[in-house]
């Protein structure tokens, strides 16, 4: 409660103070950077590594993810193959590294859809009020009522099975939470004194929305976006696991686990390694999101 009061009363909320307040904030953020907790550093390192995997997979592995050595099949993890090989003798580590780009891009697409569509709905509903709020509010209620994984499954069924569509479906399933948060933030900001001042100065609705309401509502939405990025990785992996993403020989992380499932009894590393990669990446994203959240409330 105190946090909310402090943010509304924050002088940087006023348009005159905003430019002067910004550099000071950036300065304190830089100073804060030096005493980041160890777990936050680890999380950043993990995410940078995965980013590098996605951009330049060839730098990290020379093995071809799609071509295997048949008489090397089901090699357990060891020096030659760090994470072992699958039923066709393909290097699992190479498949995971080459699957990063697709898994990361999908999660980014999903979050982008959630932020943009959900944000727009929340912005309009919160600012316009009245009929627009009532209609959009019902739409959000309905989207929230359908369990999000089922909603994603329904949407990907309608769009057709591939990884891009799974990403879009995941984004659609996240629209409602962004819309709800954005609406709440807009309602909080809308009644502030500086919005009233801007309106008395003759600012148009569109100008006030973009120049004053949006910048003040955007930080909590970004913090949710980071959290949702992790959840999107999980949802997309779940969809890929059920076979609603690209078919093999694609190597999305969820698909790797699904492929490995048939060999669980004699080659458990085929399930455990890609599963743990998903868990570690999502854990890093969650840690960052929680850190951003506590910093914001400080």
């Amino acid at each position: 409660m105190t946090a909310a009061v402090l943010t509304t009363g924050d002088p940087s909320g006023s348009p005159e103070h905003a430019p002067a307040g910004a550099p000071a904030q950036a300065g304190s953020r830089l100073r804060g950077l030096r005493r980041l907790p160890l777990t936050v550093w680890l999380s950043i390192a993990v995410l940078l590594l995965v980013l590098a995997f996605s951009l330049a997979p060839g730098l990290f592995t020379s093995a071809d993810p799609a071509v295997g050595v048949p008489d090397r099949k089901f090699t357990p993890p060891g020096w030659q193959y760090l994470l072992g090989t699958d039923h066709l003798g393909r290097d699992l580590l190479s498949r995971i590294i080459h699957g990063s780009a697709s898994s990361m891009t999908s999660a980014l697409i999903a979050v982008a859809i959630g932020v943009l569509v959900g944000g727009a709905i929340g912005l309009v509903a919160g600012y316009a009020g009245g009929w627009a709020d009532a209609v959009l509010g019902r739409l959000v209620d309905v989207l929230l009522a359908i369990p999000s994984f089922l909603l994603a499954v329904v949407v990907v069924t309608a769009l057709g099975y591939d990884t891009r569509n799974a990403a879009i479906a995941t984004g659609v399933s996240a629209v409602a939470v962004f819309a709800r948060l954005m609406r709440a933030e807009v309602l909080r900001v809308r009644t502030s004194v500086f919005i009233e001042a801007a309106r008395l100065n003759g600012g148009s609705d569109a100008y006030i929305l973009i120049r004053h309401v949006l910048p003040n509502a955007v930080r909590p939405v970004l913090s949710l976006a980071v959290l949702q990025f992790g959840l999107a990785i999980l949802t997309i992996a779940g969809l890929a696991f059920l076979g609603y993403g690209d078919p093999p020989p694609a190597s999305d992380w969820g698909l790797l686990v699904a492929d490995g499932r048939e060999h669980l009894l004699h080659a458990p590393w085929l399930v455990i390694a890609p599963g743990l990669v998903i868990a570690i990446v999502v854990l890093s994203v969650s840690r960052l999101s929680r850190f951003i959240d506590t910093e914001r409330n400080r």
Partner: protein, 311 residues
């Protein structure tokens, strides 16, 4: 009056969910009936094709199909499966007990895990162990539930022989499937529970209770638990969505014949009526449970009761 309005809103949301799911699924390019009919080897005449299509109502415009479907649903007729030709209501009905057993067991497990984490978070303090306990919910939430399920099968069914993977409906198999489903759900409950406990611990009455020399377990049970239950019960309603959505993957992994498996088969065979019914049923359960919780909460907590003159 307020209760009636809430019920009305819930019914409206379920009805709109029906329409939304119908319209989204109408975008599917093909359907199993047409695929079967257009198969040249099946050798249907044009007249037979038209007759079969009109039997399934596939010859009408989408909006007319929607109105017919809503009318039938109101009379309790959910249509006929496009892939098995069985009534949708019986397909769904047969799957409900399995999912209900799974979800209920999972909820009990999740509450137990959350209770243990909550107690540990308050009694271990700020040290390394306490920090570990507090970070467990994030770890649970970040682990894909298919990984949890497959590891449980590998360790407990294959290596230790604690349960059989051949017969998924035994108590042992149900328990491990429920544990798979419970772990991410317990994390969501525990996060809210621990936050609420922290708030309550900071209150004076807790300090008084501790200074009277009461044992920590007793303080937890008598003084911390009840004030912290309110947000916890609310989040229990929200996790119903996770229980239903998560059952899709859990049932697939453990080979259970529940709603999740019905959904998965319906998706694979593009069986729109079954998918429609299963998804809307899940939404209805979610909305219904949360409605009940909303209405019951004031009974649990006198602070929420509306002043008499307002009602």
């Amino acid at each position: 009056m307020i209760a009636l309005k809430r019920v009305g809103q819930a019914v409206l949301v379920i009805a709109l969910a029906y329409v939304l799911v119908f319209l989204v699924l109408a975008a599917i390019p093909g359907d199993p009936v047409s695929a079967q009919l257009e198969n040249p080897q099946a050798g249907y005449s044009e007249a037979e094709k038209a007759q079969i299509r009109s039997f399934y109502g596939l010859d009408k415009p989408v909006l007319v199909q929607l109105l017919i479907s809503i009318g039938n649903a109101l009379r309790g007729d959910l249509g006929i499966s496009l892939s098995t030709s069985a009534p949708v209501s019986s397909t769904i009905g047969e799957a409900i007990p399995s999912t209900l057993a799974l979800a209920a067991t999972a909820l009990v497990f999740a509450l137990l895990i959350a209770l243990i984490l909550g107690f540990a978070s308050q009694s271990l303090g700020e040290g390394r162990l306490g920090g570990l306990v507090r970070s467990l919910p994030t770890v649970f939430l970040s682990t894909p539930n298919f990984l949890i399920g497959l590891v449980l099968i590998q360790v407990f069914a294959v290596q230790l022989g604690a349960f059989s993977i051949i017969d998924p409906e035994t108590a042992g198999s149900t328990a491990f499937a429920a544990l798979t489903l419970a772990i991410p759900v317990s994390a969501q409950i525990a996060q809210v529970f621990i936050t609420a406990l922290d708030t309550t611990t900071a209150l004076d009455h807790t300090e008084v209770a501790l200074s009277r020399g009461l044992a920590p377990v007793r303080v937890f049970a008598r003084h911390l638990l009840r004030p912290s239950l309110l947000p916890t019960v609310t989040v229990c309603g929200l996790v119903v969505g996770e229980l239903l959505g998560g059952s899709l993957i859990t049932e697939t992994i453990f080979g259970r014949a529940g709603i999740g498996t019905v959904v998965q088969k319906a998706v694979t065979s593009q069986d729109v009526p079954v998918l429609q019914a299963a998804v809307v049923l899940s939404a209805a359960v979610f909305v219904g449970v949360n409605l009940v919780i909303d209405l019951v909460l004031p009974l649990l907590d006198p602070r929420l009761r509306a002043p008499r003159e307002a009602s």
